[in-house]
Symmetry: C2
Subunit: 439 residues, 2 copies
């Protein structure tokens, strides 16, 4: 592509957004757990949500706000430490927080987009959140420190904040001399959290939404954190909600919907894309849309990789490539079967070139594969051709599989479709993180 997106390691803050974070006392360990983003008037938005049949209250409220505001969002409010899922007052609690935040910012409640992540089955401590709102509002800033504060406040079992930024060129909204926009430069910043319960299957087509759970909590047990995936994408280009939705769905299909840490899909997975238009640049032409899509995909790919790499107990990141399928969804089906096989993942934990388990997983994928046509590559070496062992350098294989990241390639010999999937090993640490009573 002529204008490839560049991923910036350092934080690049898109214009028009202000970030804030504070400690509302929701997280057991303490620390920042309430975060806010403010967007300028006219900011547009699109979002996608989990396809789990069980959906937390904020996802329902957020979706309805997007519908009622016709894709306008002026503020995002996120809490960690409580998923507001399977709770009786979940819906009312979420709407109360949105109303209060809206009143303080002088915007309609329907233009506030809420998210929650943390324990499930426990009432959202609304009062704590409301008490913290003034502090939160006062802290708004467009500085890098504020952005990092936001990124940290939304973390649960994450060990580090996850950010990615890109710049892309697009047409000018109007001629503003001596401004970046006169060169049609726009900025994109993505912030994500997630470490476990990660196999996002974001609902990208249709609108088969489910009502929120009305959960009771009358002294019921607090349950360990969901390490839901939350992703927020900010650009200072201008774009219609429809254009944002198209770009977001295309990007998610190839990135967040192509990763798995443990094969469990959360009840709270959310990806929101916000466009402030503050750079003066506008995604107008088809060429603009292509460049925007490229930048968006690059940022989402980086965030998806960071989520897998920071997965609970993860030692190895695996780039799984499945080729020679009849359709891409067939390739995806085989990739998920391999990525979610405990025996494959534990072999990876041991840097063990155990292609037999991969072959068995392919045979279990529910795709009518002919094993005699299956080739398997571990790292740089072909280890199985036509379903048969072939000689390979085992020490080299063990060395390559001992790396922090390595590729695994499977050819099905059925057609021309392929997919790339990011996954990881399964370690004793994953078990420790998740088996620890009341972790």
């Amino acid at each position: 592509m002529k204008f490839p997106a560049t991923i910036y390691s350092r934080v690049v803050v898109p214009r028009g957004f202000r970030f804030a974070a504070t400690a509302a006392g929701l997280k057991k360990g303490g620390g920042p757990d309430l975060a806010l983003v403010e967007a300028p008037a006219g900011a547009t938005a699109a979002a996608v949500f989990t396809s789990n049949r069980v959906v937390a209250a904020p996802l329902e409220v957020g979706r309805e706000h997007l519908v009622r505001s016709r894709g306008r969002v002026r503020a995002v409010i996120v809490n960690s430490g409580n998923a507001n899922c399977a709770t009786r007052s979940g819906r009312a609690a979420c709407e109360k927080v949105c109303r209060e935040a809206a009143a303080r910012l002088g915007i309609p409640a329907r233009e506030v987009f809420p998210s929650s992540t943390g324990v499930i089955g426990v009432e959202l401590p609304v009062k704590k959140i409301l008490r913290a709102l003034p502090r939160l509002g006062a802290g708004r800033s467009d500085g890098r420190r504020a952005v990092m504060g936001f990124a940290r406040a939304i973390m649960t079992t994450d060990t580090r904040p996850k950010l990615a930024a890109a710049r892309f060129r697009c047409g000018r909204k109007r001629a503003l001399l001596r401004s970046a926009s006169s060169r049609g430069q726009a900025t994109l910043l993505g912030i994500a959290k997630g470490a476990g319960m990660i196999q996002p299957r974001l609902h990208l087509a249709g609108q088969s939404w489910h009502r929120p759970l009305a959960g009771v909590n009358t002294g019921g047990t607090p349950v360990p954190p969901h390490a839901t995936m939350l992703v927020y994408l900010f650009t200072d280009a201008a774009a219609s909600p429809e254009a944002l939705a198209r770009a977001l769905r295309a990007a998610c299909a190839q990135t967040f919907n192509r990763i798995s840490v443990d094969g469990d899909t959360s009840t709270n997975d959310t990806v929101l894309l916000l466009a402030s238009g503050a750079s003066g640049a506008r995604v107008a032409s088809a060429a603009d849309a292509r460049r925007f899509a490229t930048a968006l995909a690059a940022v989402c790919r980086s965030l998806a990789w960071q989520i897998v790499a920071d997965g609970e107990g993860v030692q190895h990141v695996v780039e799984l490539r499945v080729e020679g399928a009849r359709t891409e969804s067939e390739a995806e089906q085989v990739a998920r079967a391999i990525a979610n096989s405990p025996l494959v993942k534990t072999a990876w934990a041991g840097a063990d070139p155990n292609w037999g388990r991969i072959l068995a997983a392919v045979g279990n994928a529910g795709v009518p594969v002919d094993p005699r046509r299956v080739d398997i590559f571990l790292g740089s070496q072909l280890v199985c051709r036509g379903g048969r062992a072939v000689p390979f350098n085992e020490r080299r294989a063990h060395r390559e599989l001992s790396q922090r990241q390595f590729p695994v390639r499977v050819r099905l010999g059925r057609g021309r479709a392929a997919t790339t999937f990011w996954t990881c090993d399964l370690t004793a640490d994953y078990v420790r993180v998740n088996a620890h009573y009341r972790s």
Copy 2:
């Protein structure tokens, strides 16, 4: 039922069978790894095999032998230490072993039923097996010690042999005074192995078999054991191969096809049912068939439970009951989603009453469940009603989940169908067993 089957803890050897085991040098650690069962002339048989697309050579040979012999089996030969899967010479090697065993026993090769379990992708060391055949043949005996020797020789990662026996009444073949058969008493003995790579999905209908893999091994890597499930069922009643097949499929559907240790289905799973007729009793009437089916189901249930209880790293056995489904296969689909969720299994490892993860797994099962109709019981307590937390005694829940075995019950509120599924927790020991390089 009027004549319930009794499970005998001690070994009860059905008449007409002789067992033997020896060390052929196939297992790395040494010890018995080659086992034989001899059945009398006229013995009938039925078998079911894995539904994995990847199928080891002995499964193909065994199935063809059953077809060519019209369900007659005079001998079963099993080796551990090598799965004879994904090997180039697999088919020829397996046939060679059957021919040699047949010659020694003076029976047609097509009446020899072969099985293998162990490393995949390594040529079967035929010479070692052939050298051991004389020893093996010489050791044949109908004594309990020989039976236990057989049960131990087929083990891989199993920590203990798995046996179950039952007696059942059925009609007399012919009047033999002063013989057990004059009371129409028949005996059933089951012997099994399996600890990991356990989610048998035995192919019970149709005949969509796949050709064996032709695997190459030219110095390719030996791969750690498959802990395939192998099950051998012996009765001294007489029954037609068709009657055996009917009873076997019905029993497997509710037992071996209702367990999961790690959700991985092996390439070598095999269940064989052999009838010697040596008791003089014959499964003739519909009532006989019912009593036989009851005994067979009881033995298979016991063996299935023993396999889960001896699963790799298993601390807790979970009796998972899914009720209120539209169809039984829908209930099974939800049960597998719960049983194979790493977050659910790790919570069980911590004796953590974490119903939120179970609810999330139900939402991911691919069944259009309405979360507001889902009830969850942990141990003896209702912990989630209508998708909401309800108050429960947490210390009691933790105490119950700390037991070696406990029940989990999920009601979907969609219909009247239900299923019972046996599974287990996921522990750091499972990871250690399977991540250990060249384990």
